[in-house]
């Protein structure tokens, strides 16, 4: 593997000269983004299938075996459709908004590690970077709602903005407890910290992961992640039965597809983050099995199915109930648990040394 990489580097230097580091970085970006986009496409297929079976339907089954080519067909259909710009819309912002929605969803993947060494940019403050980049995802929604010059779109944008800003606080607190027990902002080190502990020495690594000692934070983080991605039961920003389709009601064709891609890419992103921060990332649940990126993918898959399961199970929250949950339940819970973890770490019972 190393020898192959070395020969590849030599060949690249021969071909591109001084530009090789740039080309190599581009190649790595494509290696992350292309499977991600494929994952997004098949996540939509999986969603329709899973929810279909939960509702005793079959789901897509016409295009290809088991409907497997359905997402490709949907993508092509959207690609060939006309992008209609409403006459009263602010044209520049109307076009920029979908790009602003998808750009943070992709940019955050720059620091996501897949194993100890398999990471595009292993920076010191990668957790902070993720928090900062994901907090910018809200602009795509607000601007699309405003630029559409439609009251439904604007209502959706306002709901979404308030919701995302509120749940970011709970999310940030959950992340603070994780970085307290890990003593690092680097995602690789956070995962490595979860591989140590009393249970890990006994071969039961899955009990050493952060989800057990930080169980309330794990729950808060995952629910806040649901709200951040505007997924059911927190999808008031779309709210088909109340405000048509919310912020993207005026969008068509590929501009609409970008919002769609951004939502699903964000789902995969927050699932990966939950797996990294609370479920031990790429470490195997038991000592006798080897670690590897496959474990990470398996955990992400389970969390994604949870997303779909929730959508099929829970009715949509009312707007005031969302605000109550975010501010009056999660924020106090997080503050209390922050103190509990702080005192726990100072006490002789500290398990994170």
């Amino acid at each position: 593997m190393d020898a192959m990489l070395l020969s590849l580097t030599n060949m690249g230097h021969g071909l591109f000269g001084g530009l090789w580091p740039l080309v190599w970085a581009m190649v790595k970006i494509v290696l992350i983004v292309a499977p991600l986009m494929l994952g997004v496409a098949y996540l939509t297929w999986l969603e329709r299938k899973v929810i279909g079976y939960m509702q005793v339907r079959i789901g897509p089954n016409r295009v290809g075996p088991w409907g497997l080519i359905q997402p490709i067909a949907d993508g092509l259909k959207l690609l060939f459709k006309e992008i209609v710009v409403p006459s009263g819309a602010n044209k520049a912002i109307f076009i920029i908004a979908p790009m602003l929605a998808i750009a943070p969803a992709l940019a955050a993947w720059a620091v996501i590690p897949f194993t100890d060494t398999l990471v595009l940019a292993n920076i010191d403050a990668s957790l902070l970077y993720i928090l900062a980049i994901t907090s910018m995802g809200v602009y795509g929604i607000i601007l699309s709602g405003w630029a559409s010059n439609s009251k439904y779109a604007f209502l959706g944008a306002m709901r979404s903005a308030a919701q995302m800003v509120s749940y970011e606080i709970a999310m940030g607190f959950a992340l603070i407890t994780v970085l307290m027990v890990s003593g690092s902002l680097n995602l690789v080190e956070i995962v490595q910290a979860q591989e140590r502990g009393r249970f890990a020495e006994m071969g039961l690594t899955f009990l050493s992961w952060n989800w057990l000692p930080l169980l309330p934070m794990f729950v808060v983080y995952f629910i806040a992640a649901l709200a951040e991605t505007n997924r059911a039961p927190f999808d008031v920003a779309e709210g088909e039965s109340e405000i048509v389709a919310g912020f993207h009601v005026e969008y068509s064709g590929m501009a609409f597809a970008l919002f769609f891609l951004a939502e699903y890419a964000n789902m995969i992103l927050v699932s990966t983050l939950t797996a990294l921060l609370f479920l031990g990332g790429w470490s195997s649940p038991v000592g006798f099995l080897p670690d590897g990126a496959l474990w990470l993918f398996a955990k992400v898959f389970v969390l994604l199915v949870l997303f779909l399961w929730f959508r099929a199970t829970f009715p949509r929250y009312r707007y005031d109930q969302i605000m109550r949950l975010g501010w009056k339940v999660f924020v106090p819970l997080c503050l209390i648990w922050l103190f509990v973890v702080g005192i726990w770490m100072m006490s002789p019972l500290n398990i994170w040394k």
């Binding site: 403050a125 602009y139 607000i142 308030a162 970011e168």
Partner: protein, 198 residues
């Protein structure tokens, strides 16, 4: 010129352009968007100076939270630009004085070496993360100023709530926690009625 310097000038050009547009844009939403661009570019320049914590913090706090709410307000308000422009010449002298004062202060900071002002030396410890150094300083040497600043912020927060809170409203608001805690027995009474026979 090496690549970092080139990048710096590119960012600086974007920053100056964005800041100019903040005060010249006719549409207030465009002005707010350029302010966001200015904050973002500012973060990028700080990242070039290897102050990664500050760079990420400005994006997280200003771009991710403050400007979202700001944009929110700007979008909701119906701002009449002509009314705002009315007092331009009347307020110009005061504005010029304040602007000159700010330019002077910035010049003092930039020319601190020339004016013999003792500038704080940038500490660059090897292999220690920026965040750790900042945290250690904040909670050891500067703990009192830090706590004072947080108390001031807290007071500001409470003041904002007190100023805008108008007391309990007489609405038909339903308490969600009561709604959740409701039981079927409290609402529905199942009656046993014997079958009436002729």
């Amino acid at each position: 010129m090496d690549i970092p310097t080139l990048t710096f000038f590119a960012f600086a050009a974007v920053l100056i352009f964005a800041s100019m547009r903040v005060i010249t844009a006719r549409n207030p939403v465009h002005a707010a968007l350029h302010l966001i661009l200015a904050f973002f570019t500012c973060g990028a320049i700080w990242a070039l100076l290897q102050a990664e914590f500050l760079a990420i913090a400005i994006i997280l706090v200003y771009v991710g939270a403050v400007m979202v709410l700001f944009l929110f307000v700007v979008m909701m308000l119906d701002i009449n630009m002509d009314r705002i422009r009315q007092g331009f010449w009347k307020h110009l002298p005061l504005g010029v004085v304040i602007g000159l004062l700010m330019v002077l202060e910035m010049g003092m900071v930039l020319g601190s070496r020339y004016f013999q002002v003792p500038a704080a030396d940038a500490i660059e410890p090897a292999n220690v993360s920026n965040v750790k150094t900042l945290g250690a300083l904040m909670f050891s040497d500067y703990v009192y100023p830090f706590e004072l600043a947080s108390i001031v912020l807290l007071v500001g927060m409470i003041a904002a709530i007190v100023l805008t809170h108008r007391g309990p409203k007489n609405t038909k608001y339903i308490n969600p926690s009561k709604q959740i805690a409701v039981k079927a027995q409290d609402r529905v009474r199942v009656l046993q009625m014997p079958v009436e026979k002729e």
